[in-house]
Amino acid sequence: MTFRVIARLDVKPPNLVKGIHLEGFRQIGNPSVYAQSYYQEGADEISYQDIVASLYNRNSMDELISETAKSVFIPIAVGGGIKSGAQAEKIVMHGADKVCINTGAIKNPGLIEEIAGSLGSQAVVLGVEAKKISKNVYTPMTDCGREHSGMDIRWWIEKASELGIGEIVLTSIDQEGTLKGFDFELFSQVRGSTNVPIILHGGAGSLEDICAAAKAGADGVAIASLLHFKKTTIREIKESLAAANIGVRV
């Protein structure tokens, strides 16, 4: 299986934004334009996250998804405020291929089965935003990193896997936006709690960080800061992975 390089775009509709530790989001530009350019450069997937959907209880990604799907022919994952099977189906109707759920699933784990039942589990991505609360102890947060769930991450990952998720996008809140590297202790705990593919997100600061993720056994990485702030390109990332003998799609 090839290692996936996914472009992650946090969106505060209609803008592409970027924050640090899931706060202080700055506007960067037009998300659809950025998505197009990452696609042209060889990204394996586009992942859109509406970061204010849970906060404002609204869904305004439809137009962006449809616009993107007109010229971006790789999988598009969409997350942010998804609370029901009907919402998930609507998002797929507009051109998305997978839906990413976090808060919705923690508050109502039955949501996983509901969406998997109609779209298939391969369309269900569990978004996990993990915060370290003490040495080697992590908890999944909800509402874009603002609220505590009270759970140990290993327990939640096992439960969600039993309920039928297709893959996990694992974000380290402590690392994200810092460019200081991924949290491999976090990855290891999640890897030990599930068999589904895991995409690492949050903290990639260099090509070496990304190679390290592949060598540690992640199934892919979701990259934001490094790409949006033009510190590297998808092409460069894939070349460095290939040079390290990691199989990537060319």
Partner: protein, 205 residues
């Protein structure tokens, strides 16, 4: 040439329609079976679960129409779930049979070799086909937990290697082309595959 897409209320028609548009093909969408009998080429897309997909086809009157269409030997193409539903039945939902136009079954992937779902890009190995030989070694996007297992393993098409096992990537038989991966999500390579498949519809070799 116009492609008739079968909309069964789930599936991701939008991406497929956009891909067809990009390639310059006209398309129409059938939602109740009435457009199927006059279709030139029928395409069944798919992002859904087998049981629900089959239920919807029945409810919308499309199931019989598809069988009739195929019995006339007109080209029928299925993507992902759309391909799997063409077989007899699926492990995903043992209470609901498939459209049964191809001799084979849909089986759960082997977790010994493969993370389930099989989600990601794989290079194709082409088997006994000159039409698709140009896609040897090219990468396509797969997203599935179940795989197509044909009664006749020598059916031409393509496969991918997962661990020690070959998994069917696509096959063609008479008027039917069944594609396990998502050509509409496989970048430029996928678009080329779609173009080739449509241009050589019914004369695939």
């Amino acid at each position: 040439m116009k492609i008739t897409l079968v909309d069964y209320g789930l599936g991701n028609q939008y991406s497929v329609i956009q891909a067809l548009k990009y390639l310059g093909y006209a398309s129409e969408i059938d939602t109740d079976g009435t457009l199927i009998s006059h279709a030139e080429i029928l395409l069944i897309p798919g992002v859904a679960a087998f049981g629900k997909g089959m239920q919807n086809l029945k409810k919308r009157g499309q199931l019989e129409a598809i069988r009739q269409f195929s019995s006339k030997g007109r080209p029928l193409i299925g993507f992902c779930l759309g391909a799997q539903m063409l077989l007899r039945n699926s492990d995903e939902d043992v209470t609901t049979g498939g459209i049964s136009l191809v001799n084979g079954e849909v089986k759960l992937m082997n977790s010994e070799y493969c993370r389930i779902p099989n989600q990601g890009w794989h290079p194709l190995e082409i088997k006994n086909s000159s039409t698709f030989s140009g896609f040897q070694g090219k990468f396509f996007y797969f997203s599935h937990s179940y795989r197509m297992a044909l009664d006749d393993a020598a059916t031409p098409g393509g496969q991918i290697l997962i661990g020690n096992e070959f998994v069917s990537a696509f096959f063609f038989h008479e008027n039917i082309l069944a594609v396990q991966f998502h050509p509409e999500l496989s970048g430029n390579t996928g678009l080329e595959f779609m173009d080739t498949a449509i241009n050589t519809a019914n004369i695939w070799t």
